[in-house]
């Protein structure tokens, strides 16, 4: 037994020794200090990007990387929202200032790809065509639908393209909007409606002509129209031509350094739209070298192959570990790039990210866990950033189900929502109570319709037939599997119970199930939010049109859509804002969603980072970011 006592003593002393060693480890410079010295910016970037192909990705985190590698026609301003700086385009202007439907972009002649290949308008045309190609199936292709015939091409609208040529087409094309030209998942299995008229092959069309019952037409459509469409489609299908050949694409290149973009409607803020990475050019020569144009996930985005035109080039990409970019010497403005490189870390765990920052491993975090805000305020007040962000958090209501089919109930729930209490006590992130749907924009009037008014809410609910919450069924509140979502849910649960006497049942689900249930309108209330894609109120409004993918409330209003249509034709920015505001107010009066707050971004920023200014879209142009020790 003695030997074992000895063993025990030895183990103990070993443990002690190792603890001592731990404490007396070498006192070297921290990771961040080293990176600052080397000019490498360390960024928490939440997750591994799906890809670096601007035409395939659809997320915010990808934007951070892609905007360091690629550059669009215009560039964000480092400190001002809604201001465009020259990018690949030196100058840009609408042909007609009064009616900005056609835009000219003059490309800089010295623009080059990182392999030395010159960058011309042809690359842009290739890129536009590529992202719109149906086979590539880009999630974000709709960002280019402003361009003439872009939508028709992307959606392969064969019948429309064929028949609009027909001078004496008997009816307005608008009247055919109920026909399943595209795929319709809800159609019956054996009908061609499921596949969509535009997608039928020649063989299928012949079959359909023989057996018309295979396709269900709305009753309003005359036989003449049907035959005409079928005939033309069949003829085209047999000809072997492509949709591309049919369209009159709005983007053209009068010369290698000029890009002309013709739009469906006037769009004064087109330069803002082109800041989005879907409008970025991709190198035609490099893409085609590694695969077909419409092929996904080819090797062209691999670290050793990627050719780009931004301030940085890809240095290394270790799957799930990091992506690092370094200076691009071929960049047209290379001498003004401040950083030597950026390292993006896919840190999914919010707490880990913050602790890495506290431990001097990051220059900037992607976000800040709400639970740690209090801690950060205490110990890292100087690093804590709290900025407005172009987004609104709201609760969707299912307007197809009792009790939220009644606007008064929706309004009551909205008015009973004590936004401030939730923001101050649960979220603590300096969010602004949402007064409407669209966050504050310069020049755009605040709707100012959403207010906390428990008394009014009670009254409205009683009017709707549920005095004091009597008769209200159990309400299912759908949210995701995050701690914060749960806490917000619990707070609202208590608030609605208190003010309205409503029984809320919180149902948590993982992300895809949550989305699916929302899609299927299988909920009563559902947490949700929307981050603007570009600096215009429209990005918050057009999603509520009937059938828009993000509506998911079952709500629709013809009047609302008419106003939006009117606004899209407006050439004057001020008129346009007035119309959009009118639409927003109409929307809010119906309250299919219960706005809670305008997003704010909370994150931690190292003091050595310069030229990093608050921006509503949080797209910080990499060119200007600088690392400097005080």
């Amino acid at each position: 037994m003695k030997t074992f006592r000895n063993l025990f003593v030895i183990t103990q002393s070993l443990l002690l020794a190792s603890i001592l060693l731990l404490q007396t480890g070498c006192e070297g410079e921290t990771t961040v200090d080293k990176a600052t010295r080397e000019g490498i910016f360390l960024m928490g970037n939440s997750a591994e990007p799906k890809d670096l192909d601007p035409h395939i990705v659809s997320g915010v985190l990808e934007n951070n990387i892609i905007s360091s590698l690629f550059e669009g026609l215009v560039l964000e301003h480092p400190s001002k929202d809604g201001v465009a700086l020259p990018g690949v385009a030196e100058e840009w202007y609408p042909e007609d200032k009064e009616n900005p439907t056609t835009w000219i972009f003059k490309l800089r002649k010295e623009a080059k790809w990182s392999d030395g290949h010159p960058l011309t308008a042809e690359d842009f045309l290739f890129s536009f065509r590529r992202i719109l190609t149906p086979e590539l199936a880009s999630d974000y292709a709709f960002m280019l639908f402003y361009i003439r015939d872009a939508e028709a091409y992307h959606k392969s609208q064969r019948a429309y393209l064929l028949c609009r040529e027909e001078e004496d087409f008997p009816v307005e094309w608008e009247s055919l909007k109920d026909v399943d030209f595209g795929p319709n998942d809800e159609a019956e299995e054996d009908l061609f409606n499921r596949k969509g008229l535009d997608l039928l092959t020649a063989k299928e069309l012949e079959e359909l002509i023989k057996e018309p019952k295979l396709f269900e037409w709305p009753e309003s459509v005359t036989e003449e129209v049907r035959n005409l469409i079928l005939e033309k489609s069949l003829e085209f299908a047999k000809s072997g031509k492509k949709i591309w050949d049919l369209i009159d694409f709005g983007a053209t290149a009068p010369d290698p350094h000029t890009l002309k973009v013709e739009l469906n409607a006037p769009l004064p803020f087109l330069p803002e739209v082109t800041k989005h990475y879907t409008w970025f050019p991709v190198p035609k020569h490099a893409v085609l070298k590694h695969g077909r144009m419409s092929e996904r996930f080819t090797d062209w985005t691999k670290a050793e192959n990627l050719v780009c035109n931004g301030p940085f080039v890809l240095k290394s990409w270790v799957f799930n570990d990091h992506i690092e970019v370094e200076r691009n010497p071929k960049y047209w403005d290379a001498e003004n790039v401040q950083l030597n490189g950026v390292r993006f870390l896919p840190i999914a765990n919010l707490f880990t990210e913050c602790r890495m920052f506290f431990n001097n491993q990051l220059h900037v975090t992607y976000t800040l866990a709400p639970e740690l805000i209090e801690y950060a305020k205490l110990h890292y007040a100087k690093n804590l950033r709290n900025e407005l962000y172009l987004g609104t958090y709201f609760i969707r209501t299912n307007t197809t189900r009792k009790p939220f089919d009644d606007p008064r109930v929706r309004l009551a729930f909205s008015m009973a929502l004590d936004q401030k209490a939730i923001i101050d006590n649960v979220l603590q992130g300096g969010q602004k109570p949402a007064t409407g749907l669209v966050p504050a924009f310069s020049g755009y009037p605040d709707a100012n319709m959403v207010k906390f008014d428990p008394e009014g809410a009670k009254k409205l609910l009683a009017e709707a037939g549920y005095p004091g919450g009597k008769g209200l069924p159990d309400i299912e509140y759908l949210t995701v599997d995050k701690e914060t979502s749960k806490a917000v849910g619990e707070a609202m649960q208590a608030i609605w119970k208190e003010h309205l006497g409503a029984n809320i049942e919180i149902v948590q689900m993982e992300w895809t199930s949550y989305i699916t249930n929302m899609f299927d309108l299988n909920y009563d209330l559902a947490a949700g939010g929307w981050i603007g894609d570009y600096m215009d109120p429209l990005t918050f409004l057009d999603m509520w049109m009937k059938g828009a993918g993000n509506n998911r409330t079952g709500w629709s209003s013809e009047e609302f859509e008419n106003i939006l249509k009117e606004a899209s034709a407006a050439t004057n920015a001020k008129d346009r804002y007035t119309l959009l505001s009118k639409a927003e107010k109409l929307f809010l009066s119906e309250r299919p969603i219960l706005p809670l707050y305008y997003y704010s971004r909370n994150y931690l920023l190292h003091k050595d980072v310069k030229n990093w200014h608050p921006l509503l879209l949080d797209h910080h142009p990499w060119k200007y970011v600088k690392l400097q020790r005080d």
């Binding site: 799930n320 765990n349 602790r355």
Partner: protein, 309 residues
């Protein structure tokens, strides 16, 4: 022996196929699809995407297509959420998990077994109760608590340890410890029980009668047999360790395989899901076989078949 391995190999194939079948249909039963997105993706785009991944085909066709392509072309499909071939994803992340898992195993064996032996020797004393209580803590305290605690208490105070990240050799210490703790606790308990069982056997008396020191008796005569329960436990446990852990990888930013089990499920990434599940099933089968063989090495009676005894 070869026959035995061959038999188990055949059984393993059947297991894998059954596992594939279950996983495949479970994956199909999940609500949503890989292209479910909060973004405004048109039905048309989704159809094109389905076509791209072969998900537009009929269910039986998809069901047979996957194994066919795996077997004939070694093609495990392309991950819809990561945009990479599943084979590459596993090839990239498994080595990381393997290193981490081996480290965790090292911790588990290095801590668990000696403590188990010590507890067995000091059976029913405060040392024993203390150690077993300690083991119980290891079992009770979940990784999502121990990981952050290590970050706050250890990594923040030790200059050469990072809170998270995977690059330098010392980076694997904290995650491996976190991952291995539960196994260490189980091993300590199993080793204690195993050794106590052996210590009560007659041949230990023989060893004492030979005049051997207690240490020799423990290490040479009781350890081998006493480790058998631990070996049986380690088979599947090792498979679990080296296939990664979502929580540990997420806390310590380790580019391992465990996160794919969760991410693939959440993003309905069918091929990735099938890939990692089948790979895990494969590991389980191999490790079970391995632990059976190791049992045979440790226990010669098993090696020769029970009839010999």
């Amino acid at each position: 022996m070869i026959r035995f391995i061959f038999n188990r190999f055949l059984q393993g194939l059947l297991v894998l196929f059954a596992l594939y079948t279950i996983t495949f249909f479970l994956a199909k039963a999940m609500p949503g699809e890989p292209f479910t997105s909060e973004k405004n993706v048109s039905e048309f785009t989704k159809q094109n995407l389905r076509k791209l991944y072969g998900l537009d085909k009929s269910l039986p066709e998809q069901y047979f297509r996957y194994p066919y392509r795996v077997l004939t072309q070694g093609d495990f499909g392309v991950s819809s959420s990561k945009g990479k071939p599943v084979r590459d994803i596993i090839a990239n992340s498994f080595p990381v998990s393997l290193v981490l898992g081996l480290g965790a195993l090292g911790f588990a064996v290095g801590i668990g077994i000696p403590l188990g032996i010590l507890a067995a020797i000091r059976k029913n004393t405060w040392v024993d109760w203390g150690l077993m209580g300690f083991a119980m803590i290891g079992i009770c305290v979940p990784a999502f608590t121990i990981g952050p605690l290590l970050q706050i208490l250890v990594a923040a105070n030790v200059p050469w340890l990072k809170v998270a990240g995977w690059g330098s050799p010392q980076d694997f210490l904290l995650p491996a410890f976190t991952l291995g703790l539960v196994s260490a606790a189980y091993l300590a308990r199993l080793t204690r029980g195993g050794i106590l069982e052996i210590l009560s056997q007659d041949f230990i008396r023989t060893a004492h009668a030979k005049g051997l020191s207690p240490t020799t008796v423990i290490l040479k005569h009781s350890l081998r047999g006493g480790l058998l329960p631990s070996v049986a436990y380690l088979g599947p446990a090792f498979a679990a360790l080296i296939s990664g852990s979502f929580i540990v990888e997420s806390i310590f930013l380790v580019p391992g395989m465990g996160q794919h089990f969760v991410n693939a499920a959440v993003s309905r990434d069918e091929f990735l899901l099938l890939g990692v599940s089948m790979f895990f099933g494969f590991l389980i089968i191999v490790m079970n076989l391995f632990s059976d063989i190791l049992t045979g090495v440790l226990d010669p009676r098993v090696r020769m078949g029970k009839e010999g005894a």
